[in-house]
C-alpha cells in the first residue's frame, strides 16, 4: 500500500498562447478568454501514480496551490482515478515564487498526512522553472530526483528510478519517502474513464487556507516570502525578413541542399 501525493498546477492552455495579449500600459497579460488546464507534465505524474496504485495498491492524494477556480482542474484529476484532493487557496498565498510555493505545499502535505512518494510534473508549461519539485523535497527533508523517466518500487522503503540526464540515462535507487519529478516521456496518459468521471462527483475537494495550517510561517509565503521579484513583461519579437524559395520540388530541394552542404559538420 503506497501513499502517493501528486502535485497539480493549473496553467493557461497552450492552445491559447497565441491569443494571449499583452497590455502595453499595465505591462500585464490580458487573461480574458484564456482557459486554464492541468499542467501537461502533471498528468504524467498522475499517470505514474495511477499505474503504481493499480500494481501495488494505495491511495492517491492530489494537492494544488492556487485560486478557488483550480477545483475544476482538481476535479478533472479526480476523474482519472485519484482518491482525494486538497486545494491550498488563500489570498495571502498570492505572489509566491517557487520557494514560497514549495514551502506552502510542503506544509500542506505535512498537514494532510504521511506520504511514501510525492510526485510532480518535471516542469510547468507557463513558468517552466522546474524548481518546485526539488525545493519541495528540501522543505520536506526528502531526497528528490528530477527528470525521472522510469520508476519501480523495489520494496516499501526503496524506489528504483531512471533519470534522464543531458545525453544519457542514470539509474538510481532512492530511499523513500522521496520527491520525484516525472518527465513527459515516461508514460502515455490514459483517458479518464467515464466511471471515474461520474464517481468524481461524490468526491469532495478540501480547501486549506493559511488558517488551516497552524504552524505556517506567514513571513515565508506570498510576496514577502518570495526572494524573487518579477518585473514587467516584455514582448519578445524575433522577426526576420523572410524570402520565399519557389520552384519545383527538385529545385527547392537542390537549393536547400546547396545551403546545407557548405556548413555540415566534419
Amino acid at each position: 500500500m503506497l501513499n502517493i501525493a501528486v502535485c497539480i498546477k493549473a496553467v493557461p492552455d497552450e492552445e491559447c498562447y497565441n491569443i494571449i495579449k499583452f497590455d502595453p500600459v499595465m505591462k500585464t497579460l490580458i487573461r480574458e478568454g484564456i482557459s486554464m488546464v492541468i499542467n501537461p507534465s502533471d498528468l504524467h505524474a498522475l499517470e505514474l501514480a495511477l499505474c503504481l496504485k493499480e500494481k501495488l495498491g494505495g491511495e492517491i492524494t492530489l494537492i494544488s496551490m492556487g485560486p478557488m477556480t483550480v477545483t475544476t482542474q482538481l476535479r478533472e484529476c479526480l476523474s482519472y482515478g485519484a482518491d482525494e484532493a486538497y486545494l491550498m487557496s488563500d489570498c495571502i498565498f498570492g505572489g509566491s515564487d517557487t520557494l514560497a510555493t514549495s514551502y506552502v505545499l510542503s506544509k500542506g502535505l505535512r498537514h494532510i498526512g504521511n506520504f511514501d512518494l510525492v510526485l510532480a510534473g518535471n516542469e510547468s508549461a507557463d513558468g517552466a522553472t522546474s524548481h518546485v519539485p526539488s525545493q519541495l523535497g528540501e522543505w520536506l527533508g526528502y531526497p528528490h530526483v528530477m527528470e525521472v523517466c522510469a520508476l519501480n518500487i523495489v520494496d516499501e522503503k526503496i524506489a528504483a528510478v531512471r533519470k534522464k540526464a543531458d545525453n544519457y540515462f542514470v539509474d538510481y535507487t532512492v530511499k523513500l519517502p522521496a520527491v520525484f519529478a516525472v518527465s513527459r516521456g515516461m508514460n502515455k496518459v490514459r483517458y479518464p474513464s467515464i466511471r471515474g468521471i461520474l464517481s468524481s462527483k461524490g468526491k469532495e475537494i478540501k480547501v486549506l487556507t493559511a488558517e488551516s495550517i497552524p504552524d505556517l510561517d506567514i513571513s515565508m509565503i506570498g510576496l514577502q516570502g518570495s526572494p524573487t521579484k518579477t518585473g514587467q513583461l516584455i514582448t519578445s519579437s524575433f522577426h526576420r525578413d523572410c524570402m520565399l524559395l519557389d520552384g519545383s520540388n527538385e529545385e527547392i530541394a537542390s537549393a536547400i541542399l546547396g545551403m546545407i552542404r557548405p556548413v555540415i559538420d566534419d
Partner: protein, 337 residues
C-alpha cells in the same frame, strides 16, 4: 542611490570525464561582462566539485577566473544531487558571493533550486540575459509563458542571487587567463558525516547521435507537420546521409515516433544556435521558438503559408514537407539509398 555591492560572482563549473563543460566558459564570459558594469572591482570565481580533480582545476585556471574554490572528496566521485548540493551549499556559505551562475544542465537544474532552498534565496531560471540596471541591480531576463513573453526577475533583498542559464544561450567569449589565479581547497566536514539516500546504480550512454545537438552546425528539425512515421524515417535517413543532427518539437513526441525527448528543442528542452536550422513542418509555437531563435540561418518548410514560424525565418518554402524530403533524398543517393 548607492550601488548595491557586487564583490563576488561565482560560476559553478560542471565537468564530466575530466573535461570542463563548455557552459563554464559561457558563464565566465557573462560574469566578466557584468563586472565591467561594476568598475571591474568584482572577483570572478569558480566552484568545482569532484574527486581527484586537479586536472579540471588546472583547466579552470585558464578560463579567466580570478579565484577557484574546489572540494575534492571521494563522495563526489560522480554526481549525486545530495552530496553535490551539500558541498555546493558549504562552498557558497564559505565564499559568500553575491551572484552564482549555474548552467541549466541536468545537473545544474537540480542543484540550483536545491541550494536556493537551503540558502532561502531566489533562483532565476533559464535566463536569456543577465544585465545590471542603472541602479546596479542585477536583472535577469527570463522567458515567461513558454517563451511567448520575456520577463524581468530581480532578487533585491537576499544574497546570494542564483541565476541559471541553458547551455549555448550565452556566446562563449575569449577571456584572457588570469596569471594570478588563487586556488582554494575547501575541506568538507559535512560530506564526511553525511550518507546520501540516493544510490547510483548504472549509467547508460545514449547510443545514436553521440555528439550533443547543441554542437551541431546543421539541425534538421521535425515539427508536427511531419505527420507520420514514414516522413520521420525519411528525415532521419536524410540527416544520416548529410551528417546533420535531428531535433524535434514537443508535438512530435506526442505523435509517438520518437521514444525519448533528448533532442527536443524549446523551453523545456534544448537551446540551439546552429549555423543552419531547417524546419520540416514546424509551426512555430512560442516554446519551440525560444529554443531555436538564435540560429544563424532559419529555413522552414510548411504547407501552411500563414505558419507562425515564417515570421522568424530567413527562408520559407510553402510545400508539403514529405514531398520536399522525397526530392532531397532523390538528390542525395535516391529515395531508397
Amino acid at each position: 542611490m548607492e550601488k548595491p555591492d557586487l564583490d563576488k560572482i561565482i560560476v559553478y563549473a560542471e565537468h564530466k570525464k575530466g573535461h570542463l563543460d563548455p557552459s563554464c566558459a559561457e558563464l565566465v564570459g557573462k560574469a566578466k561582462e557584468l563586472s565591467v558594469k561594476y568598475d571591474d572591482n568584482v572577483v570572478i570565481g569558480a566552484v568545482v566539485l569532484g574527486y581527484e580533480i586537479s586536472e579540471v582545476v588546472k583547466d579552470l585556471s585558464q578560463t579567466g577566473v580570478d579565484y577557484i574554490w574546489y572540494t575534492d572528496h571521494p563522495k563526489l566521485t560522480r554526481y549525486n544531487s545530495e552530496y553535490y548540493a551539500l558541498a555546493l551549499e558549504e562552498a557558497v556559505r564559505f565564499i559568500a558571493p553575491e551572484l552564482i551562475l549555474i548552467a541549466a544542465t541536468s545537473q545544474g537544474s537540480e542543484l540550483a533550486p536545491t541550494v536556493g532552498a537551503r540558502l532561502k534565496t531566489g533562483v532565476a531560471a533559464h535566463c536569456v540575459d543577465i544585465v545590471a540596471d542603472d541602479n546596479g541591480q542585477i536583472v535577469n531576463i527570463v522567458p515567461a509563458l513558454g517563451g511567448k513573453f520575456l520577463t524581468e526577475i530581480k532578487i533585491p533583498d537576499v544574497r546570494p542571487m542564483i541565476s541559471t542559464v541553458k547551455p549555448s544561450v550565452f556566446v562563449k567569449k575569449d577571456v584572457p587567463a588570469n596569471s594570478n589565479v588563487q586556488t582554494v581547497r575547501i575541506e568538507s566536514k559535512a560530506l564526511d558525516s553525511y550518507e546520501s539516500r540516493i544510490w547510483f546504480v548504472a549509467e547508460s550512454v545514449k547510443e545514436e547521435n553521440e555528439k550533443p545537438i547543441e554542437e551541431a552546425n546543421v539541425i534538421l528539425c521535425a515539427g508536427m507537420g511531419i505527420v507520420d512515421e514514414e516522413n520521420w524515417r525519411k528525415l532521419n535517413e536524410l540527416a544520416a546521409r548529410l551528417k546533420c543532427a535531428v531535433g524535434y518539437t514537443r508535438p512530435v513526441i506526442d505523435l509517438g515516433v520518437v521514444n525519448n525527448d533528448h533532442n527536443m528543442i524549446g523551453t523545456s528542452g534544448k537551446t540551439i544556435r546552429p549555423q543552419l536550422y531547417v524546419g520540416f513542418g514546424v509551426s512555430g509555437a512560442s516554446h519551440h521558438i525560444c529554443g531555436m531563435k538564435d540560429s544563424q540561418i532559419i529555413l522552414c518548410i510548411n504547407s501552411d503559408e500563414n505558419a507562425d514560424i515564417f515570421r522568424l525565418s530567413d527562408y520559407k518554402v510553402i510545400a508539403d514537407c514529405g514531398a520536399i524530403l522525397d526530392a532531397m533524398l532523390e538528390l542525395t543517393g535516391g529515395l531508397n539509398g
